[in-house]
Symmetry: C2
Subunit: 435 residues, 2 copies
């Protein structure tokens, strides 16, 4: 392989061959293709794209740059869900134990929050003692014994993605749909799952702001999954306001427990039900998504989901009593309400601004090196469509750091738009891929 020739061909809009892509990724991961050549190739990919066949090979090559989790010793289907990221998106936390309680194993490798979106690992780590840095062996044991286990990326899984992501970050090649899709899918495929549900978020709080972009990403993700022999579907869901009531790590664990108890906010509960139903269908244990949703509802009602959550937390070193006593989660010292400045209806919430206010407060990270405060965050009272009277609380800030508070308050006050006319909130589920 002549790397300059590979770059030239992609630069000129030509198709790369599977063997060629495998060699490029392997040699890059091994340090034999220098960063400057990969940077030129990534920019050419950014501007010229990769077709479905190229992407399947690209993701597969990334995946095989490291260890792949071997779940072949565990009987039955193994499925996972991945979200493209949003504000208040704690779905994975109640979802994994609920699906496991319905007899489908969930080996989930998650990420941390970056920018305005949160990360499942950060949320789980707000549970006292909870560890997300298990070895692959312990992870497989968790999936076997509990049915669900949630860990972070390990050094041995998909090393090419870690290296490539760091390079993309400094060469303005992050927000490319093919490269995002290959990065997501290589990590998900490395879990050794047989089915995958992708929650592609759309709206002001998502990376994809338009349905068109979200649809393209969904199609691309599904194509890569299927090209690599994994049953994959995508659900496009609304992220034009924070999901549920809680934004912030411990607060979102508390809401997750509420969902597991059947006491969660309508949108979070509905999304858990739909995605859970889809996972059970993808796992092949129900005939359709509707039947899957009913099974998820049953697992909430019976308490089986909550019990699996307790066992998962215990297996991963955490205090399972948080499932019964949210007071065991870290709590922020201060509370501050942001109130409605006028009478009217909440017509919109600038969701990304809410996420960024959370980062400022310490609930998220600006850079990978930032430390987060698990206790801080927001509790949203007035969602889109809600009628409010001047002085009604819109959102309560849970804070420890008073210095950032005035700016956080101002950001939140600006994030809510209150109008005269009633509005109806749009649907939560915007589409599926394939339709």
């Amino acid at each position: 392989m002549l790397m300059t020739e590979v770059i030239r061909r992609k630069r000129d809009g030509e198709r790369l061959g599977d063997a060629e892509i495998r060699e490029v990724i392997r040699e890059y991961a091994a340090g034999r293709v220098p960063d400057y050549q990969m940077a030129a190739l990534l920019m050419a990919v950014f501007l010229r794209g990769l077709d479905e066949g190229e992407l399947t090979a690209w993701a597969s090559a990334m995946l095989h740059s490291g260890e792949v989790v071997d779940l072949s010793g565990l009987p039955g289907p193994k499925v996972d869900k991945h979200s493209t990221g949003g504000v208040g998106d704690k779905v994975s936390v109640p979802l994994a134990p609920l699906v496991a309680a319905c007899g489908v194993r969930v080996p989930m490798i998650s990420g941390r929050g970056l920018g305005h979106t949160g990360g499942t690992l950060d949320k789980l780590e707000s549970i006292p003692g909870f560890r997300t840095d298990l070895s692959v062996e312990r992870f497989v044991a968790g999936v076997r014994e509990v049915g669900a286990c949630l860990i972070g990326q390990t050094e041995t899984l998909v090393p090419a993605d870690r290296k490539m992501y760091a390079l993309r970050d400094v060469t303005a090649t992050v927000d490319s749909i093919p490269l995002i899709a290959a990065s997501i899918m290589s990590k998900k495929l490395a879990e050794g799952v047989s089915g995958l549900v992708l929650d592609v978020k759309v709206g002001s709080g998502a990376f994809m702001k338009t349905m068109e972009d979200a649809r393209t990403l969904a199609r691309t993700l599904v194509g890569i999954g299927r090209g690599n022999g994994v049953r994959t579907v995508a659900v496009l869901t609304d992220m034009s306001e924070p999901l549920g009531w809680a934004v912030g790590n411990a607060l979102e664990i508390e809401e997750s427990v509420e969902v597991l108890r059947g006491e969660g906010p309508p949108d979070t509960s509905a999304l858990v039900r739909v995605l859970g139903g889809t996972l059970l269908w993808i796992g092949g244990v129900v005939r359709d998504v509707g039947e899957g949703e009913t099974r998820i509802e049953d697992a909430v009602r019976s308490g089986a989901g909550l019990e699996t959550f307790r066992r998962m937390v215990a297996f991963q070193g955490g205090d399972p009593r948080v499932a019964d006593d949210p007071g065991r989660l870290p709590r922020a010292r201060g509370r501050k309400e942001v109130v409605a400045g006028r009478d009217g209806f909440v017509t919109a919430i600038e969701c990304e601004q809410v996420g960024l206010a959370g980062v400022l407060l310490g609930a998220g990270r600006r850079t990978k090196e930032d430390r987060i405060d698990p206790a801080v965050g927001f509790r949203v009272h007035a969602k889109v469509g809600q009628r409010v009277t001047r002085g009604d609380p819109l959102v309560t800030i849970h804070c420890n750091d008073d210095a950032a508070l005035p700016q956080v308050e101002a950001m939140l006050a600006r994030a809510w738009t209150i109008g005269d006319d009633p509005v109806t909130r749009g649907p939560l589920i915007l589409g599926r891929e394939p339709d």
Copy 2:
């Protein structure tokens, strides 16, 4: 400046500001922008382009990455000619002394041959003793005392171009018109000239194969020159067959002397006259190009050009007697004729193939590290349009290395097309920019 933001903006087709471009080039030259970021930016520039204003700033920033020759102490106009490269293009060698003999100084910084095209430095160095590695001080002294001096790039001139060219070479970003133009112009502007004539070659032996590409390059080069305050014009000239009779370093010096004596081949002599006339016009010593051409003819007839050539050779350490006795130039040991296989008319010569055959023979370089043999090359007998009879010599190979000979012969035999019908050679001068 945030480099990722600069890359992103160019990636998205936005315009970069002058100050931004200056900072990028300066920081890159200083090693503070890493190669991988520059590689991503170069690919974005390759695919998105640079407009005339951006290019003017880019070339100016490259130029100011190092020393600029200061010719302000020398009275009168200072002009230069640059050719985009061809086969048998020895024009600079007779042109510089002829223009200097007409009272316009020529400070010329030239390049070496690479790929199928030759380089002026290699040609001059075939003169025993001739040095092209003069210091900038000696160079200025040569321009002052002789009126013309021809040297190579120094370490101190345009270091950003050297570094960037090496990176472009390994990242498939070489053949971009804006980047080629910025590279050429930064080096030419560093000479400190007030006027510049660009000989943009078009045809099978040139980098630009079509009039459209050549016209774009010409326009781009002229835009950068004018944007940087230098009187610049481009002449588009034919390179669909080798220029003149000689291809190869010492052989081309011999032909240069023939031109200076008024005994050169019609095409080389005509091109020297036209470019010389244009340089005198750009230098402001004649009213129009036609008057300039007459002055060049006079300098040939009077022997003033040949005398300036002798002085230039002597100043640069070479043996000036080559101007009177070509036997003092290196001569190859062997001769081999390639003859016409049939009766007819030469309808085309695959000019790039002739150049590549020259490289194979040792007259040029495949890589920068290759050593060349100054003596070897070709003497062309049958040019396009010429009637030949089976067995007539088309070209004589001057060779030292017998091993490459069969392949060189075969390449040359294939390069000549002989047809039944007479053809007329197209014009040598194909256009001017601005028109």
